[in-house]
């Protein structure tokens, strides 16, 4: 099992060192919340701030979300778990951050928990990897010998559904939406300003949480994240009404992988699949 205390110590040491040596101006990691079970995303900017850094099983936030908040060129150290590192890679691909401005502190971890439910976050709601894909400094022991969980297994049940039943399922789920936009705000890939749903011309949907607007918002957001979603599951954990958004994102990710032979956020050399093409792409994908 993961030694959370050890990782916290390493995180503090590295954060302190990086800030002290002036290699970065901010360390994005986790800090104390109002109690043990509720840590918060934390931006340490001074050596004194390092004291407040924590790491425990509830630190599931994807810190890549905060990268785009800093002006381009800011030297940032960022603590990443497996899925988070893929988000960083994806942001590098999309030229939102530059690799040379980042110090990536990798955290190999298993056994993260959802603070709301206390459930272990497994491959069901996240990408099923344990080790960060990209890092400069590793803060713990890589997880080996553990059977890699299959992230798309959970889809089988829904894929097998009759299409009308699936429509009913999604209609029911998406109609719960209250349009607080926590999903897009928690998403490391949702950085558009303004978001299409806030535009008044063209106005894509009503502001009130009603079925047509909810459908428009979510279907389009699923599309905008196609080939970019790195399956961290933050959207679903942020959702106050527990819409299983991760299911749809997983499905789209799976289809994109099958069609275009590329997984989001695995290499900084890649280009996001929907801003790329191959002449040899087959028309079969349109059938």
């Amino acid at each position: 099992m993961t030694d959370f205390k050890k990782i916290e110590e390493n995180l503090k040491t590295e954060a302190g060192r990086l800030l002290k040596e002036g290699l970065v101006t901010v360390v994005l990691s986790y800090g104390k919340g109002f109690d043990e079970n509720h840590p918060m995303p934390y931006a340490a900017k001074t050596i004194a701030d390092v004291e407040n850094i924590v790491f425990n099983q509830y630190c599931n936030y994807n810190m890549a979300r905060y990268l785009v908040r800093y002006p381009q060129g800011t030297k940032i150290a960022i603590a990443v778990k497996a899925a988070d590192s893929r988000a960083v890679i994806q942001l590098i691909q999309e030229e939102k951050v530059k690799r040379e401005n980042l110090v990536i502190l990798g955290i190999p971890v298993q056994g993260m928990k959802n603070p709301k439910t206390g459930e272990v976050i497994d491959s069901k709601t996240t990408c099923g990897l344990y080790n960060p894909v990209l890092y400069d400094i590793l803060l713990g022991e890589e997880v080996h010998g553990q059977k890699n969980a299959l992230p798309y297994e959970v889809l089988a049940e829904y894929e097998a559904m009759d299409k009308d039943a699936r429509w009913e399922f999604w209609e029911k789920e998406l109609n719960k939406c209250i349009r607080c936009y926590a999903c897009r705000k928690a998403c490391p890939m949702c950085y558009c300003d303004p978001c299409f749903i806030d535009q008044s011309k063209p106005k894509w949907a009503d502001k009130a949480p009603q079925s047509p607007g909810n459908m428009m918002y979510h279907l389009t957001r699923f599309h905008h994240l196609a080939g970019r979603c790195i399956d961290c599951g933050e959207c679903s954990r942020a959702c106050p009404v527990d819409i299983p958004l991760y299911l749809f994102h997983k499905k789209v990710a799976k289809e994109c992988e099958e069609m275009f032979n590329q997984k989001a956020g695995m290499s900084i050399e890649d280009k996001p699949v929907l801003v790329d093409f191959r002449v040899e792409d087959s028309d079969k994908i349109l059938e």
Binding site: D35, A186, D206
Partner: protein, 345 residues
């Protein structure tokens, strides 16, 4: 007047209330409870700590239609929404949420121009307050004691309810509640033992402790005013904030709204829809100028509005410490901690 019923027979009471009018009560959803208009009395469920969303939507729905119009047609042809409300019963409201209605009343129902929709809904509704179960542990996010509210505060309710083992005691507080309670013949008479239990429960409610910090409204209002320009403080407090709208949507005291025209095929509705000061475009002007582009400015606005501006304008803090914003926040931002820190800043 004190009456009682067995909690397992709650659906009978619900059925009676449904005959008299609209019943809004907590129902169990997949992973939470929420207030909903009851169509099946069996659905009323009192086994909840507190609802996910606040009961403010009973008086201030997420969407309130003003007018149905046809594009390009004279204004006189537009159909105005007329609220012909049946009597309504808002059942099972926690004391802190009851208190929130009084605070919202100042804004919508007393100061300046009166909001006709809020007033109409408020007047049609009888409130059944429901004490927190003092035999269960308190949620770590709650801090209503800080705002001078206790777990079994009957104030503001028309009828106040406390749980006694498998029974529910109902006490009338206002004349409106008294009249209604007298009419509810399905309820049993309470014994003198029940009377004593009720009184004791109200007293014991004061010892049921949530998080507490001594907050004087004048002191905090002044303090927050004085740290307005302390950008470091607000940046630190908002470092994690995602600036989504869940804290304001779930808050029983947030009232900001937008007025939207939704048109389809030449017909449409003008309605007011909840808005949130945490959204980027909340203050975006037509000129393109936006006074609050940064997350820290928006969080500052939210906290200042509740704990300072509202005190200056209406004399009370616009927060009841129900803990919803803290519980629902995806990144655990805790307004109580911000206030604590502000007092020290």
């Amino acid at each position: 007047m004190l009456k009682k019923t067995a909690i397992e027979n709650i659906s009978q009471l619900a059925a009676v209330l449904m005959e008299k009018g609209t019943l809004l009560a907590p129902v169990k959803e997949v992973s939470c409870h929420n207030f909903a208009e009851i169509s099946d009395p069996q659905k009323v469920d009192l086994k909840f700590y507190n609802t996910l969303m606040s009961p403010k939507s009973a008086f201030f729905p997420h969407r309130e239609d003003f007018v149905k119009y046809k594009v390009g047609k004279p204004l006189s042809e537009a159909e105005h929404t007329i609220l012909n409300l049946k009597p309504a019963f808002l059942f099972g409201v926690r004391p802190c949420d009851v208190k929130s209605f009084e605070i919202m009343d100042i804004h919508f129902n007393a100061a300046g121009i009166i909001d006709p929709y809020w007033r109409a809904r408020r007047e049609a509704t009888t409130i059944f307050g429901y004490a927190y179960d003092i035999n269960q542990p308190v949620d770590s996010a709650d801090f209503y004691n800080t705002l001078g509210i206790y777990a079994a505060d009957p104030e503001g309710s028309d009828i106040f309810m406390v749980k006694k083992d498998k029974e529910l005691l109902l006490k009338s507080i206002t004349p409106k509640g008294e009249k209604l309670l007298a009419e509810l013949s399905a309820l049993e008479k309470a014994s003198s033992g029940d009377e004593k239990y009720y009184e004791d429960y109200i007293k014991k409610g004061k010892d049921y402790k949530t998080r507490f910090t001594c907050v004087d409204s004048e002191v905090i209002a002044k303090k927050i005013e004085s740290i307005f320009d302390n950008t470091d403080f607000w940046t630190k407090m908002s470092a994690a904030c995602l600036s989504c709208g869940i804290c304001t949507f779930s808050c029983p005291n947030c009232y900001c709204f937008d007025i939207c025209d939704d048109t389809l095929f030449g017909k449409g509705t003008r309605s007011r829809v909840w808005d949130a000061c945490m959204f980027t475009d909340f203050t975006l002007e037509a000129s393109g100028h936006n006074p609050r582009t940064q997350v820290y400015q928006r969080l500052r606005q939210k906290v200042s509005h509740k704990y300072s501006y509202h005190v200056r304008k209406y004399g009370v803090i616009s927060c009841v410490g129900c803990g919803r914003c803290t519980r629902q926040c995806p990144v655990n931002i805790d307004i109580y901690s911000i206030i604590e820190a502000a007092l020290k800043a």
